[in-house]
């Protein structure tokens, strides 16, 4: 009654030959997913290093040197992102989104930090994306150009999603808080107030979005509020001390008791 051994007649069974093609399709997808996870991991590590490097701007004389070193690190990251874009050529980005979202968020954090240091403003999503257009000449092998995504002909385009952008910016606030602490220590009297103003704007922006965004965004709100409180404390102290003596004499004047106590929470 039992049917013949199935392994012996793969070719003759339409069911089995259909499953042979399923196998190929599934393996191919899985492998691509794994490659993307690895790229994301590399991007995360290198972006974190860039952020660490950027914090040196508060303590070195030549800011431009740090910025250009960061720029070249970020170029390396973007090369990895172009590899992601290459993998996604002709695919639906969202099918593999979970594989690379951590890396992209960390990249947004790094690039928006660099942008703030240079321009004292928030990099926009459009600006982030405009740096992720990769020209074909970067890669020698000539692929079928009909498979190219939207964008200039011959170019490869990667689009950061608004949510990834938001999550990256939320993490940026932790770095800004850290930078505020550093810059107070280096006699820079303007940066803390600029940071306070900037952080407050970002905070108000996030509270404008409130719980309409995805859950991951709401989760970061608490840390963001903590960072804001610390920077506001810093400004408060500078102002109080500033009333005691002539303003031009102020330097290296900062400590926050609150911050001292719960510094450990703020580490994002």
């Amino acid at each position: 009654l039992r049917m013949g051994d199935p392994a012996s007649d793969v070719s003759s069974s339409p069911v089995l030959s259909a499953f042979k093609t399923f196998q190929l399709e599934l393996d191919c997808k899985h492998d691509k997913y794994e490659r993307l996870v690895k790229l994301s991991r590399d991007i995360t590590i290198e972006s974190k290093r860039t952020i660490f490097l950027l914090h040196r701007v508060t303590s070195v004389p030549n800011v431009e040197e740090v910025l250009s070193e960061a720029e070249s690190k970020l170029d390396g990251v973007r090369l990895k992102i172009s590899q992601i874009a290459e993998e996604l050529r002709g695919e639906d980005l969202f099918q593999f989104h979970r594989a690379f979202t951590p890396g992209i968020q960390e990249y947004v954090e790094a690039v928006s930090f660099q942008h703030f240091i240079r321009n004292r403003s928030l990099i926009t999503l459009e600006e982030v994306n405009s740096k992720l257009v990769f020209l074909k000449e970067d890669r020698t092998e000539a692929k079928d150009s009909s498979a190219v995504q939207q964008g200039a002909p011959g170019a490869l385009v990667f689009q950061v999603t608004p949510t990834d952008y938001l999550l990256g910016v939320a993490d940026l606030t932790g770095e800004l808080m850290r930078m505020c602490i550093n810059s107070v220590g280096n006699g820079d009297m303007d940066t803390p107030f600029q940071l306070g103003q900037f952080l407050r704007e970002i905070h108000d922006g996030f509270s404008y979005i409130g719980n309409t965004g995805p859950y991951e965004v709401s989760k970061k709100l608490y840390t963001l509020k903590q960072s804001l409180a610390k920077v506001e404390d810093a400004c408060y102290t500078l102002r109080v001390r500033g009333s005691e003596i002539p303003r031009h004499m102020l330097a290296d004047v900062f400590t926050s008791r609150a911050a001292l106590i719960d510094t450990e929470d703020g580490v994002a």
């Binding site: 009654l1 039992r2 049917m3 199935p6 392994a7 793969v10 069974s13 069911v15 089995l16 259909a18 499953f19 042979k20 399923f22 196998q23 399709e25 599934l26 393996d27 899985h30 002709g90 639906d92 980005l93 969202f94 099918q95 989104h97 403003s121 928030l122 926009t124 999503l125 608004p162 952008y165 938001l166 900037f198 704007e201 970002i202 108000d204 922006g205 996030f206 404008y208 979005i209 309409t212 965004g213």
Partner: protein
């Protein structure tokens, strides 16, 4: 662009995204309702009296599938065609359900495995992602596995109804399906979990066949006639 403008833009994007999801959810809800109606029609085959008019039940289900096609047609208009996977989770479950129903109808009609192409046609969708709203391979396979479990129940109940030939045919069918799945390299994902369930269905059906054969109940004219 000021920070405020930036966040207004993003808020605009998020609102639009939520609106899309809301729209999708509504269509999915009516689709689920229709799926439950088809299920009620098809599940009556498990009743003692249900084996008599399988053809008429299939006909009725086929009619209801035209409603399914309308709902899915509606669903397609709710989001940009190339962002299928962005919203996939919303319809994934119901798509697997209707795939199961399509596979079950086809099995009841012809005792053969529905192909991905046939399901796509019954649902009015595509097989290739590039061509439009499509049937993901995992969803197709999940639907097929739901059917396998339904067939193991059918094997049991056909014995209760005195139809002793059907379990043997189901057994052969399920075995072939099992061989097919064994070719796949499944990860530790939902599909793998479902596939593990298939093994129980295989065993269950084989047990029924065994019960019949040791009692000599497989020589019954009705079954012979079916072949």
């Amino acid at each position: 662009m000021s920070v405020t403008d930036m966040f207004s833009n993003i808020q605009g994007f998020l609102s639009a995204d939520q609106d899309i999801r809301e729209d999708i959810r509504k269509v999915v809800q009516v689709l689920e309702q229709t799926a439950r109606e088809i299920l009620t029609v098809l599940q009556s085959v498990h009743q003692p009296s249900g084996f008599k008019d399988i053809p008429s039940k299939c006909l009725r289900a086929r009619e209801l599938f035209s409603t399914v096609r309308n709902h899915i047609g509606d669903l397609k208009t709710k989001f940009p065609v190339d962002q299928y996977y962005r919203f996939h989770e919303h319809w994934r479950f119901v798509l697997q359900r209707v795939t199961f129903l399509a596979a079950f109808v086809v099995y009841l009609e012809s005792e053969s495995l529905v192909t991905r192409e046939e399901v796509a046609q019954i649902l009015g969708i595509e097989v290739d992602r590039e061509k439009g709203f499509h049937l993901d391979i995992e969803d197709y396979l999940a639907g097929v596995l739901i059917m396998a479990s339904e067939l193991s129940r059918l094997a049991v109940n056909s014995v209760t109804s005195g139809d002793y030939g059907r379990p043997l045919r189901i057994s052969r069918f399920i075995n072939e399906l099992d061989s097919g799945f064994r070719l796949l390299n499944l990860k530790n994902d939902p599909l793998r979990k479902r596939y593990d369930g298939l093994k129980y269905d295989v065993k269950k059906i084989e047990e029924v066949v065994y019960d019949l054969s040791i009692r000599g109940l497989t020589k019954d004219p009705e079954t012979a006639g079916d072949k």
